[in-house]
């Protein structure tokens, strides 16, 4: 500090000497403050007709050498530019916040704030209130449809279920394709957990669900590799930057309360209700003769003991009311040198599927303070407690499977026979009502995310930032399943504990200087990242004590433990050079090391170069009155990625286990046992690489009333890591990890903003985004052309399987009985990738009233409809309601002429259907949210202690149009957020339609 004190007089002396040399110049010292009287650090001060410029220090002060009557041009991010004519040697400049310019500030990689104007790549921001208005507890779902280039797929309607977010298409063959989530500069974990292997089938929760959307100020989506290059490896799949809310300085405490209550109704597929249980039109009563089929007689004519047969709604006895409440209280404020923000919220969702609940307590506190005049710090802590319970899903053990295809003539009550056994109309499945009481899956996550940021500004042009953050959670999962003779399982309890922690530290040195017309920003930094997780699993198999929820009650008890550790080190540098607000050049470079790669190949460099040209700066004023902003940008980037988990280099021995339906691990019958890993390790594993070209246009018209942005990108992954890629089993191993996959994605993104009508009484804002991405698998592995749903030369994630025989014209081949013939080999039967995605938001406001509605559209993208595949077979699908014999369109193999032989409906639906018949076009348009709100006029509140009050009603999924899909909502991926299960509509909790009532008060 001493040195600093000495420096100041020396600087003055120097300036004095300079002043003497040019008698006309004086030294002006001043301070830049905002309308709250707070300093505006980093404000730029230029002399209007000169070349000199400087920047304000952290305390807002500056000195500059200037002519006597010269004019200073003072500008800062988020403030309206001001011109001040000098009159003396001291000046205080008050900058006013500019609404228009404020929206221009955007958070870029590593939390660096930059003017969107100068960015050389595409980003898109979503405001916190927009996220909150979606009424989705899961941040990922809240973003759905709102950002171009981003595809979000929720797994199911299960309370707390996971969602998948992929930015600019999948580039990794089997690795995680999901975006990185960063909170205030610190990455957080978004794994899909809450699943126990061998426990309840169905999607788990993606861990971003622990973040309370109410604490979010805004999110910024960094899409391309040029935007994320500084994030390195982990940001290669795009980054979602979350900025949390803060307090202010010199601000009175502001209390805000909000309360939401919503009611949910499941969106169930249509079914036939005309025909009773049975086969060939013969009635089976389910008690004395059992069948899973509903190919019985018509209900209208069916008499039981002389009386008309009663109908039973399968859902009525099973489903319950879905009710969600969400309450948030927050307080923010601050004194002269510090500010605070504190928030608590409680989210409580009772799912409409019994035993499915999701509850979350979140506490968030942020405290920022000025320790010394050039030293500031922010400490924040988020704690959340997420609690989910659910039933299994899917076709084997999920009760919903039975409910969805239950005969209309079957009375599911009572659930049990007098002897206590399950009462069921069919074999091979558990009774749904039995499952409610005898199967459970519970998951409790306690999570802490502390972040400490310290900024030190020794010189006005230099800032050193040290930011350390952690993400720590423990997860306790428990799965219990009573013994069941109906499905031949002896009952089991599984208990799992996950202990996860990750630490992230960045040390960033940022220098910012203006030289004449150049504005130069240089940044160097270092990142250290570590993560560790410990999983312990206990299993008690063969339950011997009723209602005793502890593994010790198992006939055989096995345990396992696993630990994973991963570390990364990165060094990075960035240079942003703006010339005269006209041209911007951005260069980044990063050198990463990762612990998971081969020791001699674990460091790798990469970087990006980008240029933007603001051509509207050259416009004459007549033209800029129409088009007030225009920019084109170009970038190239290449990003390295480690793309593989820990310990993939060696081929160890692994604990042996049985592959039977009940399972069983070694030690087996008293003997320990290990077998060689079925995956051959690859000791030469190196980083994969993603290259991307991007070109973009950003324009604004009529004083920014209309805006249009477009981007084109081409990205290609090379040396892609495929863990466990299939190899000939005759090598002794079923897979190995290779560095050879290549996948390309190319696409367009458009974003249109318009304030169609804008006046004090009535306003209409419109936002439209559009995304079209084409992807293609270029290579997997030399000699290998297919890996599950990936086929070289085809889009990512095709549907492949059992199909029909067709002639060269694509017509079905029909046999002599009128039945379509199955092909001898499997083949491609569909493509899960959409042709394009679009979102349209309209906001109207009239005086105190507002109406928002948001449409979301997906064109194309096939869906595998497992529900109707089964319902067709059982005769419960809507299609199976028409039971007259019919002629299948196609070519008869007997005479090579169009088929004329009619087929019986039951035979058609039960005996000729192929996997291909379950693939449907998933095109949809949906009214995702519509919201009506009313803000109490300030005049009404003037005499109360309430500062603001509003009420709103929001409907979700009010309307869905999906012309080719026979289920209820094609936007679902039943088996979770993984790559291989995209586009599967199966026996998971359906999505829902909901009405939400919300009250917000500010004090």
């Amino acid at each position: 500090m001493k040195k600093k004190l000495l420096l100041r007089p020396m600087l003055l002396i120097l300036l004095l000497i300079a002043g003497l040399a040019n008698a006309q110049n004086i030294v002006v010292s001043g301070k830049v403050i905002n309308d709250n009287g707070l300093p505006v650090p980093g404000a730029s001060i230029r002399i209007s007709n000169g070349k000199k410029g400087t920047a304000a220090g952290d305390d807002g002060t500056f000195s500059i050498q200037a002519g006597n009557k010269s004019t200073l041009v003072v500008s800062a991010l988020g403030y309206a530019t001001q011109e001040v004519t000098l009159n003396g040697t001291g000046v205080t400049i008050t900058l006013l916040k500019s609404v228009k310019e404020l929206s221009d500030v955007t958070v870029t990689a590593l939390g660096v704030k930059r003017s969107k104007r100068n960015l050389t790549y595409s980003t898109q921001e979503v405001k916190g209130e927009v996220l909150a208005n979606s009424k989705e507890p899961n941040l990922v779902n809240a973003m759905a449809g709102k950002v171009s280039g981003v595809q979000i797929t929720s797994s199911s309607g299960t309370a707390g279920a996971s969602s998948r977010i992929v930015i600019r298409g999948a580039t990794s063959a089997t690795g995680d394709n999901q975006a990185l989530f960063v909170v205030d500069g610190v990455p957080i974990n978004n794994d899909e957990t809450s699943n126990i292997g061998g426990g309840a089938a169905g999607a788990g929760s993606n861990r971003v669900v622990d973040i309370d959307p109410a604490i979010i100020e805004n999110i910024t989506v960094l899409k391309g590799a040029a935007a994320t290059a500084l994030y390195g490896s982990s940001g290669a799949k795009g980054v979602v930057m979350i900025t949390t809310k803060s307090g202010g300085t010199d601000k009175k405490p502001a209390l805000s309360l909000s309360s939401d209550l919503s009611f949910e109704k499941p969106l169930l597929p249509e079914r036939q209700t005309k025909y009773a249980q049975g086969i060939d039109g013969v009635f089976y009563d389910g008690e004395n003769n059992k069948t899973s089929a509903s190919w019985g007689p018509a209900m209208d004519t069916l008499k039981i003991n002389g009386a008309a047969a009663p109908r039973y709604d399968p859902f009525k006895s099973f489903l319950r009311k879905g009710i969600t409440s969400n309450s948030t209280v927050s307080v923010s404020g601050g004194g002269g040198n510090s500010g605070y923000y504190m928030s608590y919220s409680y989210f409580d969702q009772q799912g409409f599927i019994p035993k499915n609940d999701f509850k979350r307590h979140s506490i968030f506190a942020k405290y920022n303070t000025k320790i010394y005049k050039n030293l500031t710090s922010t400490f924040q802590l988020e704690y959340s407690n997420s609690n989910q319970t659910r039933l299994p899903e899917g076709a084997s053990n999920g009760p919903l499977f039975v409910v969805l295809v239950q005969p209309i003539s079957w009375n599911p009550l009572p659930a049990l026979n007098p002897d206590g056994s399950q009462r069921l109309y069919r074999a091979s499945r558990n009774a749904p009502l039995w499952a409610i009481d005898n199967i459970s899956n519970a998951s409790v996550v306690n999570r802490f995310i502390p972040i400490l940021t310290v900024n030190y500004t020794p010189f006005s042009w230099l800032t050193i930032t040290e930011r350390g953050g952690a993400d720590m959670y423990t997860e306790q999962d428990k799965y219990t399943e009573s013994p069941s003779t109906a499905i031949g399982l002896p009952g089991q309890i599984r208990d799992q504990n996950i202990n996860f922690r990750q630490f992230n530290n960045d040390l960033i040195v940022n220098a910012h200087k203006q030289f004449n017309k150049f504005d130069v920003n240089l940044l160097v930094g270092n990142n250290i990242y570590t993560n560790y997780s410990q999983n312990t699993n206990l299993r008690g198999l063969g339950l011997t004590i009723d209602d005793f929820n502890n593994v010790s009650g198992g006939q055989s008890v096995t345990a396992s433990e696993a630990h994973y550790q991963q570390r990364k080190v990165g060094y990075y540098a960035q240079a942003n050079i703006d010339y005269n607000r006209l041209l911007s050049l951005s260069l980044t470079g990063r050198y990463d090391g990762s612990s998971v790669l081969a020791r001699d190949k674990n460091f790798y460099p990469y970087g990006s170069a980008a240029l933007s040209f603001i051509f509207s700066e050259l416009f004459a004023s007549s033209l800029s009155d129409v088009m007030n902003f225009g920019k084109i940008r170009l970038s190239y980037s290449t990003v390295g990625n480690d793309g593989v988990g820990a310990y993939q280099l060696g081929t160890p021995y692994v604990l042996a286990s049985r592959s039977t339906s009940t399972g069983g691990n070694f030690p087996y019958q008293g003997q320990p046992g290990f077998l060689l890993s079925s995956t051959l390790g690859n000791p030469t594993l190196q980083n994969e690489r993603l290259s991307e070209y991007e070109a973009g246009l950003e324009t604004r018209f009529l004083n920014s009333r209309f805006g249009f942005e477009a981007s084109y990108f081409y990205r290609k992954s090379i040396d892609g890591i495929i863990p466990g890629v299939l190899i000939s089993n005759a090598t002794g191993y079923s897979g190995t990890t290779v560095n050879s996959a290549s996948i390309e994605n190319k696409g367009f993104e458009f974003l249109l903003n318009a304030s169609v009508v804008k006046n004090n009484i009535f306003g209409w804002d419109l936002t439209f985004n559009f995304t079209k991405i084409r992807n293609k698998v270029l290579a997997l592995y030399p000699g290998l052309t297919q890996l599950g749903r990936l086929i070289v030369g085809q889009p990512y994630n095709i549907f492949y399987g059992d199909r029909y025989e067709r002639n060269s014209a694509g017509q079905l081949m029909i046999d002599a009985t009128g039945a379509p013939i199955g092909a001898a080999t499997q083949g491609i039967v569909g493509n899960a990738n959409p042709d394009w995605l679009a979102g349209l938001n309209n906001s109207f406001h009239y005086k105190q009233f507002g109406l928002d509605f948001f449409f979301d559209m997906k064109k194309g993208g096939d869906v595998q409809n497992d529900i109707d595949a089964v319902a067709d077979f059982y005769g419960t699908s809507k299609a199976s309601e028409n039971r007259a014999p019919f002629v299948v369109e196609g070519i008869s193999v007997t005479d090579n002429k169009p088929n004329t032989v009619a087929i019986n409906a039951q035979t058609y639906y039960r005996n000729t259907r192929k996997y291909e018949s379950s693939i449907q076009d998933g095109t949809y348009i949906k009214l995702r949210t519509a919201s009506l709100y009313y803000r109490l006029p300030p005049s009404l509140l003037a005499k109360t202690f309430v500062k603001s009050a509003s009420i709103s009603v929001t409907g979700r999924n009010l309307w869905i149009y999906s012309p080719h899909f026979t289920g209820a909502d094609p936007e679902v991926s039943s088996y979770g957020a993984g790559n291989g299960v995209v586009g599967v509509y199966s026996f998971s909790t359906p999505t829902s339609r909901s009405i939400n009532f919300s009250l917000k008060l500010g004090f």
Binding site: H563, G593, A646, L655, R658, F666, L676, A730, T731, G783
Partner: protein, 461 residues
């Protein structure tokens, strides 16, 4: 200036320190090496669970009409098979099976534990022989090389048969070394009784000689001679059987017990039950349970619509498929039927008859019958053989003793007995092999992979 120097120093020091910082990729969860006994136990369980009673075995028992699912056509039971359906079986053979047995052999040979080496070779011979009888030409000489050969060429089936005999002969040499290190409880099959392993090796030699009675370039007489010679040192009692004993508790169930579960809907096939009924076989109540709902011995006919409840069909008896039933993989009964067949080839029905009768008796004994009882004697008398019907009756009786054993598929292909008709709604003739797995088609393209299920193997021409 000092400040930037400080930063530079910090930068350099972290760079040099981080190589070490990243050195945390040693797997704490799985061992790099284990001793022989730890490999042997799971390798034996894999053979019993996944090769003797795995998915391919289930498909084949459908083809043989021993079992039937309570499902409508189409399905694997009416001969609809896709390459991908047998991926797991190929993996059980090559990854779980042969690769681990190969490593076990290498390790045991290096450490001088020749008894472990012998067991590894005998079990390899069994797995290899079973696999070639399912698929014909398969990889062996170029296999198990990991990254050194990602696309092993397939050996001709004739060469696989030679390798099987070579392995068995080498195993006998290993046992002859008389090492004092013998397995204990890690050997689920014989608890380290090397005399029994020796008898098994000879019995397997006989089995694989007899498979080639119709093979091009081989004569039935020569194969019979070889088999008879081997059987001189083969199994001598039911105690010599290669069997896997399951304890039966949760997680320790016999895999066939799980196959006949309520979700798979597998029950016994009518073809099998009707044959037992037709001959008045006293073993019917031991091998077959009455249907719960009807109290009748009732199997299911593949290709008929499902009649509904599973309890209207018969399940296998506890002797076959209780949770604690053993898997009989290679038995003394089989050795006796092999001897009967070989003797018949060489010397006719009269000479073969004693071995044939002994074969039937050995199985009655195992099923809990007094072979001296009138019922058993009268049954055996009714099943006596002549030169005209010897092969048919030997195979029929052998198939009962070998019930649920893949060996029955080989015997049917070699001899046509027990005779079966194709199922209702069959999509082809009765299959004579399985398809190559999808994993091979994708990862190791070879000319043999165009084979259809109705194609005949080399020894089946």
């Amino acid at each position: 200036m000092k400040k930037s120097f400080f930063i530079l120093t910090l930068f350099i020091s972290t760079l040099s320190g981080c190589k070490k910082f990243l050195d945390v990729n040693t797997d704490p969860n799985n061992p790099v090496d284990v001793q022989e006994s730890l490999i042997l136990a799971p390798a034996e369980l894999n053979i019993s669970d996944n090769i003797f009673a795995g998915n391919a075995a289930i498909i084949i028992q459908n083809y043989l009409q021993a079992i039937a699912p309570n499902q409508e056509n189409p399905g694997l039971w009416n001969y609809q098979l896709f390459n991908i359906d047998v991926d797991g079986d190929w993996s059980a053979v090559y990854v779980g099976g042969l690769n681990n047995l190969n490593i076990l052999n290498i390790k045991a040979t290096a450490s001088g534990k020749s008894n472990y080496a012998a067991i590894a070779k005998i079990l390899s011979a069994y797995v290899l022989g079973t696999a070639t009888d399912i698929w014909g030409d398969i990889p062996y000489t170029e296999a198990f090389k990991g990254s050194a050969n990602f696309t092993p060429v397939y050996d001709k089936q004739e060469d696989i048969y030679k390798s099987v005999q070579t392995l068995l002969a080498a195993a006998l040499d290993d046992i002859a070394k008389g090492s004092t290190v013998v397995p204990g409880g890690d050997d689920y099959f014989y608890n380290g009784d090397m005399a029994k392993w020796k008898k098994l090796a000879y019995t397997l030699q006989a089995r694989y000689y007899m498979h080639l009675t119709r093979a091009p370039g081989y004569t039935a007489a020569a194969q019979a001679d070889n088999a008879l010679q081997a059987l001189n040192n083969g199994m001598l009692s039911n105690d010599d059987d290669l069997k896997f004993a399951y304890e039966g508790g949760a997680g320790n169930e016999n895999p066939w017990n799980l196959t006949f579960g309520p979700v798979t809907t597998y029950v016994l096939n009518a073809t099998f039950i009707e044959k037992l009924k037709a001959t008045g076989d006293p073993r019917l109540p031991v091998l077959v349970k009455k249907a719960d709902a009807t109290g009748l011995y009732a199997g299911r006919v593949i290709g008929t619509p499902p009649a509904g409840a599973l309890d209207s069909y018969s399940y296998p008896g506890n002797f076959i498929a209780a949770a604690s039933a053993p898997n009989y993989i290679v038995t003394w009964s089989e050795a006796l039927f092999l001897k009967a067949e070989a003797t018949f080839i060489k010397s006719g029905a009269a000479a073969a008859s004693p071995y044939y009768v002994q074969g039937i008796q050995s199985h009655f004994l195992k099923s809990g019958f007094d072979t001296a009882s009138a019922a058993v004697r009268s049954y055996i008398n009714s099943r006596s053989i002549t030169n005209a019907n010897a092969i048919q009756r030997i195979m029929e009786e052998k198939s009962i003793a070998n019930f649920l054993n893949i060996e029955n598929f080989t015997d049917w292909r070699r001899t046509g007995y027990p005779s079966i008709m194709k199922v209702l709604g069959a999509l082809s003739e009765i299959p004579r092999r399985l398809l190559y797995p999808e994993s091979e088609l994708l990862g190791n393209a070879q000319s043999q992979q165009t084979a259809k299920i109705t194609d005949r193997l080399w020894w089946d021409q």
